[in-house]
């Protein structure tokens, strides 16, 4: 990293060259590269954003397209050509229904605490479900919630976006409709008196340190 930016601003590559460089880097990598990954290796002053925009246009409608996943970029084959390539398909672990639902809840409600996931599913999240999602690189810890107990939250990762071909969590299917129907609101259950035993109670909170 110390050698790379030998060139000064005056040597910043012209756009056509920047485009070639970004193209080569992204092509060579199976993993998405973030702007900062690229910045470290490109000559100082390279206009990465312009190069990415130009590349994106260039590859529009091609067999390989430039896709964005959160803050990172990657070349991916066009979804309509999947049938030609299925031979390369890697056996992906089949997720249980609990894991898929938990993943969806994290994606649509993020940042979300474990107690909130349990409230939505109406059942406790089994040991290992979140573990599995973290292990797959689809879920990570988010900021702690500013509520009593400051519980940990979970959010989805760039890998998640990459895997499902989403540019950002805003592109989740049906997100707008769900928002509009109020189903993503955190609506607390009406507090009730004697006799009721609410599933979402404080017992959860006490699990977390003060």
């Amino acid at each position: 990293m110390t050698e790379a930016p030998q060139q000064s601003q005056f040597d910043a590559p012209p756009l056509a060259e920047a485009e070639r460089m970004v193209e080569a880097m992204l092509f060579a990598s199976a993993e998405p590269l973030s702007r900062s990954d690229m910045e470290k290796r490109l000559p100082e002053g390279t206009d990465i954003d312009a190069a990415l925009a130009a590349l994106r246009t260039r590859y529009e409608g091609r067999g390989v397209t430039l896709t964005r996943a959160g803050e990172a970029w990657a070349f991916r084959t066009a979804p309509d050509l999947g049938h030609l390539l299925q031979r390369h398909a890697v056996e992906t672990r089949r997720l249980s229904r609990a894991a898929t639902e938990t993943l969806a809840i994290i994606a649509y409600h993020q940042p979300v605490t474990r107690a909130e996931i349990e409230e939505i599913r109406g059942v406790s999240v089994s040991r290992g479900t979140i573990d599995q999602l973290v292990d797959m690189g689809w879920v990570r810890l988010g900021r702690r919630k500013m509520t009593p107990g400051r519980p940990a939250t979970f959010v989805v990762t760039g890998d998640f976006l990459d895997h499902f071909g989403l540019e950002s969590p805003r592109d989740l299917p049906g997100l707008k409709e769900l928002r509009a129907s109020g189903l993503l609101e955190n609506r607390p259950p009406p507090g009730f008196g004697e006799g009721g035993d609410e599933p979402e109670g404080e017992s959860q909170e006490s699990l977390f340190e003060g």
Binding site: F27, A28, S29, A30, E31, A74, F75, R76, T77, A78, P79, G82, L85, Q86, H88, A89, V90, T92, L95, R97, A98, T100, E101, L103, A104, I105, A107, Y108, I120, R121, G122, V123, S124, D131, V134, D135, R140, L141, D162, H163, F164, G165, L166, L172, P173, G174, L178, S181, L183, R187, P189, P190, G191, F192, G193, G195, G196, D197, E198, P199
Partner: protein, 260 residues
């Protein structure tokens, strides 16, 4: 078969019961079961009759109980809550009553069901998207151009968390070894009591038999008391001492038993 004819399940009931057994395992908790039951109403979830649903659920739990199917606690908690809700919905509203009305509670349950259903559909849509490694592919041959001899060490968040837990929980095992110093065994107490019991002609509290150095610290005293009491029982069984206690929680006293 026997007198309790009302409780003898018919073939049909038994068949339904078998389906039920399969189903119970298939449900992901009471909310999931409620959602499934609500489908039998064949209406938009927004118009679902919570009262009817509560009754269906309670009937389900009742059947499960008759068939001696063990239901997890949260199913029973939900049943209790629904029974409560049902009573609130059926009784005329009591202006004195505290807390939310039956309607509010029912509305929230409807919301929960709708939300779970929505998340389930969202999960389905998500999984149906073109997925990396199945429909969309990354570069197959990543390129090695210049092999730099540097090594990148990798560790994931789970590794980190597990490492920390490993370090921190090591301490939790230590007590098993170290706290022997604070535990008196029954054998120790027995040896001690055997040595002195010959002199004990009069009733005395067993606390009087605790060694001096086991008095001060509460946990040592507790351990010594327990061991001494156990040793006393042993000696009583051997017929060497007598034990008495005036009333519940009164001091326990022992004395030598003179052999006939």
């Amino acid at each position: 078969m026997d007198g309790g004819q009302d409780f003898t399940p018919t073939v049909e009931e038994r068949r339904a019961a078998e389906a039920l057994i399969v189903d119970v395992a298939g449900f992901e908790g009471p909310l999931d079961l409620l959602l499934t039951l609500s489908r039998s109403q064949k209406v938009d979830l927004r118009q679902v009759s919570i009262l009817a649903l509560a009754e269906q659920y309670l009937a389900f739990v009742e059947r499960a109980r008759k068939l001696r199917i063990e239901l997890a606690a949260d199913y029973l908690v939900m049943a209790a809550w629904l029974a409560f809700l049902k009573s609130r919905l059926l009784l005329p509203p009591d202006p004195e009553a505290e807390g939310p009305s039956g309607e509010e509670m029912a509305a929230h349950l409807a919301f929960q069901l709708e939300r779970l259903q929505a998340m389930r559909e969202a999960a389905g849509q998500l999984m149906a998207r073109p997925r990396l490694g199945q429909d969309v592919f990354a570069r197959g041959a990543t390129e090695e151009v210049e092999v730099h001899r540097s090594t990148v060490h990798h560790a994931g968040l789970l590794d980190l968390l597990q490492a920390y837990a490993r370090v921190r929980t090591r301490d939790e095992f230590r007590p098993f070894v170290m706290d022997r110093s604070k535990l008196m065994t029954m054998e120790q107490a027995l040896d001690r009591l055997r040595a002195v019991i010959g002199e004990a002609a009069d009733w005395a509290d067993i606390s009087a038999y605790l060694p001096e150095e086991w008095h001060a610290e509460p946990e040592k005293r507790r351990s010594a008391t327990a061991a001494t009491f156990a040793a006393s029982l042993e000696l009583a069984k051997e017929g060497r001492i007598e034990i008495r206690q005036g009333e519940s929680f009164a001091p326990i006293q022992i004395r030598r038993k003179d052999r006939a």
